[in-house]
């Protein structure tokens, strides 16, 4: 940014050349190549994965730090602000479609492939010839009873507590937002810490639940289509909660460093959008994965 000594809010901010994106790709590819080697038992060791991960976090820190400093330095006019709004909205839309693939798989299994395996309609021969005796049911690990009998996690148990935790975190985040707009910074930071704490509590219960599923219920990824959809949906959701909590934490720390103004704080709002999105996905999960 040496070239951009003075901010000019009338002109769209065009950043100086940057090596971070290239370096980020190198880090990512190191991780993916390492994981590929691991999956194919090539014994190349974990070094590329760890080195790539460390490099990735370092780059992301430096890159986002630069963006935060540009923002605080007044380089971003109203138009740049709108760019971030549009971009975040489109990004969340892409995330919705990503989850849509897994929700679609769950729908397809429950309403199409399992009834067909059970011989519904014109698929009677499938049932009689290939999977005799299989009856459509849910939950199921399929006609071959993959990985043996298992139990499921009841909806109105820990998952319901988790629902309440996430919904509450949405409220505390909104309270933080209102406090920020009213320029009550201490209240903002406290509500933010409350939100981060609720996110961590949710993650704690999710991990407990996974350990319970694997240890006591014999519910595993290998447990047929139920285990597949259960762990894919809750797993990717959990990763998003982890990322969201990390983002909330960073925003909280930035607030403590004095970043953001009552009238200009899209960094905060973007993370809030993301958190609400993660929240809504959980509601969908709670209903179609745990409850129905």
């Amino acid at each position: 940014m040496a070239d951009h000594a003075t901010p000019n809010p009338d002109r769209y901010f065009v950043p100086a050349p940057s090596a971070w994106p290239f370096a980020l790709t190198v880090a990512l590819v190191a991780i993916l190549a390492g994981v590929s080697g691991y999956l194919e038992d090539k014994h190349i060791g974990p070094v590329p994965i760890y080195a790539g991960a460390v490099l990735m976090f370092y780059i992301l820190f430096r890159w986002f730090r630069g963006v935060a400093l540009e923002s605080e330095g007044g380089f971003y006019g109203a138009q740049v602000d709108r760019t971030y709004r549009w971009s975040m909205a489109w990004f969340i839309f892409s995330e919705v479609m990503f989850f849509g693939a897994f929700f679609g798989a769950l729908y397809y299994a429950r309403h199409l492939s399992l009834p067909w395996l059970g011989g519904e309609g014109s698929k009677i021969a499938t049932n009689l010839q290939l999977w005799p005796g299989f009856e459509n049911a849910w939950p199921t690990n399929g006609p071959a009873k993959l990985n043996g009998d298992f139990d499921t996690i009841p909806a109105f148990d820990v998952p319901f507590v988790n629902t309440l935790l996430l919904l509450t975190s949405g409220v505390t985040l909104t309270l933080a937002h209102h406090a920020l707009k009213a320029n009550k910074r201490t209240a903002t930071i406290l509500w933010m810490w409350a939100t981060v704490a609720l996110g961590c509590a949710f993650l704690f219960f999710q991990v407990e639940e996974y350990m319970h599923a694997y240890g006591d219920l014999n519910l595993k990824m290998a447990s047929g289509i139920y285990g597949s959809t259960f762990f894919m949906l809750t797993g990717f959701h959990g990763m998003h909660v982890t990322l969201g909590t990390l983002m909330l934490l960073i925003i909280t720390l930035r607030l403590m460093f004095g970043h953001f103004k009552p009238e200009s704080h899209f960094g905060f709002e973007g993370v809030a959008w993301y958190w609400h999105f993660v929240d809504v996905v959980w509601i969908g999960l709670f209903i179609v994965v745990y409850w129905l």
Binding site: N8, R11, V14, F22, G100, G104, S113
Partner: protein, 553 residues
């Protein structure tokens, strides 16, 4: 011309950076023109590699029986040819053209997110290094077809995780590129450039970007399920666990069908730009063009299972997807009609971009008609997985998408480099391409109708004649492209004594903001938003008022 001066008038703010020197310029660049150039060089490199793979396929099919490669390697070639051409060739070429042209067409200084733009590009060489690297691995490259259907694809050797992660990376690149273009179009238009005044290329790219953001994550989800099925014991696509291999096909084609419009919609935009220029008339039916593209995009989400008519769907599904697919012919017909009507009574000239655009209209329509034939479920039972399908999608992709890319490069290379290409060699390139591409793919219709299976290295002797023609055409087409490469590189590097010094408006019939900046376009354009005159607006110079003004001037 008053609107002309804005590009030159404001160089007072000298603090802005020019390009860096050497290789670091390209690694660190955030400039949309640099990145557009990188994208295009990358795309044409991939076209070359993918083209070599197609020559392996065509050489093997020159004669029945096995002669050059073993069947396993043949399958690797068909799989890799498709992945390289789609994700490495056509898609990056569109992003490259969007990089170069969208900011200059809507009057803004750069794409909305320049650093993300750099990231989106630099993912691609790494992703394709991973993908092409699988050719040298134990078990070879992926060979189950680019559609990656389980359970076959799960038999891939060491290449498998590299395939999956390469697809993930390409997806990240596409999504970031699409978000960037969409946000640029929505947020950075110069004052007065309302949505229905935007050039058609910008419109088609906006809708393409929407499709990309909607479906690339679905592909990511699909290949992630493949990955967990292979390594983490899930059973999404395994019937014994309650899943279904056909489910993959549904999820894949929910991505795959919008994907084919991702490959062709920007081509519509380019043809809609070039034909008015060389017919010296305003585009006929601007609004209907926009609505037609939007309708095609909408319909693309509800036709996916026409790729799976023979898989054993319920009858209601077959009927729904047949009729929904046929509906697409309506907006597509609107577009073809509008292109023809634009030329009606125009004063036409036939420079290279126009020749490619005209060939596009004619040959893409042939591909469209064979698509209609394939849409009819009962006859698709006969056509499915034959060379008729191969002929169909190559007609829409090569004389469709690739011709439009070539047309666009011919059309804008004088603006990019400030040097005019050789018209004589452009025309030779066009005629060789147009003739050889038809020699390559037209006989495949007949071979397919007669029952020749795709993706098989051997065939019955009755198909020999068609395949001999096809192979001759493929080699001819491949060789003809070197004319293009040298013609364009000569513009880039000033070979053969080509001098700069073209007017701003290189084509006298061209309209649009890109023709108000100098040729070659300076490193930074429109740092201050331009004032837009009606003369530069696609839709406005179609209106009666503007036409009257046009006649007076």
């Amino acid at each position: 011309m008053a609107h002309h001066d804005h590009a030159h008038d404001d160089h007072a703010h000298d603090e802005h950076h020019g390009p860096e020197k050497g290789i670091m310029r390209w690694i660190k660049t955030t400039n949309h023109k640099d990145l557009g150039t990188l994208y295009l060089f990358f795309a044409f490199t991939m076209f070359f590699i993918g083209g070599l793979m197609s020559l392996v396929i065509r050489a093997e099919l020159f004669h029945p029986g096995l002669q050059f490669v073993d069947p396993e390697f043949f399958n690797q070639m068909t799989t890799m040819h498709a992945l390289v051409m789609i994700f490495g060739g056509v898609m990056p070429a569109w992003v490259g053209l969007a990089n170069w042209m969208v900011p200059m067409m809507i009057g803004c200084s750069d794409l909305a997110l320049p650093r993300i733009n750099n990231w989106g590009f630099w993912i691609l060489p790494f992703a394709f290094a991973m993908l092409l690297g699988t050719l040298f691995m134990e078990g070879g490259a992926p060979a189950g077809g680019w559609t990656m259907y389980p359970p076959l694809v799960l038999q891939t050797g060491n290449a498998f995780p590299f395939l999956i992660f390469a697809v993930h990376l390409m997806g990240v690149s596409s999504i970031t590129g699409a978000i960037n273009v969409a946000v640029t179009i929505l947020n950075m238009r110069a004052p007065g450039m309302s949505l229905l005044k935007m050039p058609l290329f910008v419109w088609t790219w906006l809708i393409t970007a929407y499709l990309l953001i909607a479906v690339m994550p679905v592909l990511a989800g699909a290949v992630t399920m493949l990955l967990t099925d292979k390594y983490f014991l899930t059973s999404f696509f395994t019937a014994s666990g309650g899943g279904d291999p056909v489910m993959f096909q549904h999820i894949f084609w929910f991505f795959g069908h919008p994907e084919v419009y991702i490959l062709i919609l920007p081509a519509f935009g380019i043809v809609s730009t070039i034909i008015p220029t060389f017919a010296r008339k305003a585009l006929f039916g601007y609004d209907s063009m926009v609505y037609a593209v939007a309708s095609i995009a909408f319909l693309s989400f509800i036709v996916w299972a026409h790729h799976m008519f023979t898989v054993g769907m319920p009858l209601a599904g077959e009927l729904f997807f047949m009729f929904a697919t046929m509906l697409i012919a309506v907006p597509t017909g609107v577009k073809v009609f509008n292109w023809v009507a634009t030329m009606w009574k125009g004063s036409m000239t036939f420079e290279s971009p126009m020749l490619f655009a005209l060939a596009f209209v004619f040959l893409f329509t042939i591909g469209g008609f064979s698509g209609l034939m394939l849409a009819i479920t009962p006859v698709d039972f006969q056509y499915h997985d034959t060379y008729f399908v191969v002929a169909h999608f190559h007609y829409v992709l090569v004389p469709g998408a690739v011709f439009a890319i070539l047309a666009g490069v011919y059309y804008w290379i004088p603006k990019w480099t400030g040097r005019m290409y050789s018209e004589k060699w452009g025309k030779i390139h066009f005629w060789l391409s147009a003739i050889f591409i038809n020699i390559t793919f037209f006989p495949q219709h007949f071979a397919g109708l007669a029952g020749m299976q795709r993706r098989v290295p051997d065939y019955a002797v009755q198909f020999v004649d068609w395949n001999v023609w096809s192979t001759i055409g493929a080699f001819g087409f491949f060789l003809a492209q070197f004319i293009f490469i040298f013609n364009m590189l000569a513009c880039c590097y000033g070979w053969f004594g080509r001098k700069q010094g073209l007017p701003d408006r290189v084509w006298e019939g061209a309209h649009g903001l890109e023709w108000t900046v100098p040729s070659p376009a300076p490193y930074h354009t429109f740092e201050v938003p331009p004032v837009i005159s009606d003369n530069e607006v696609t839709a406005a110079h179609d209106s009666v008022d503007a036409l009257d003004k046009h006649k007076l001037s």
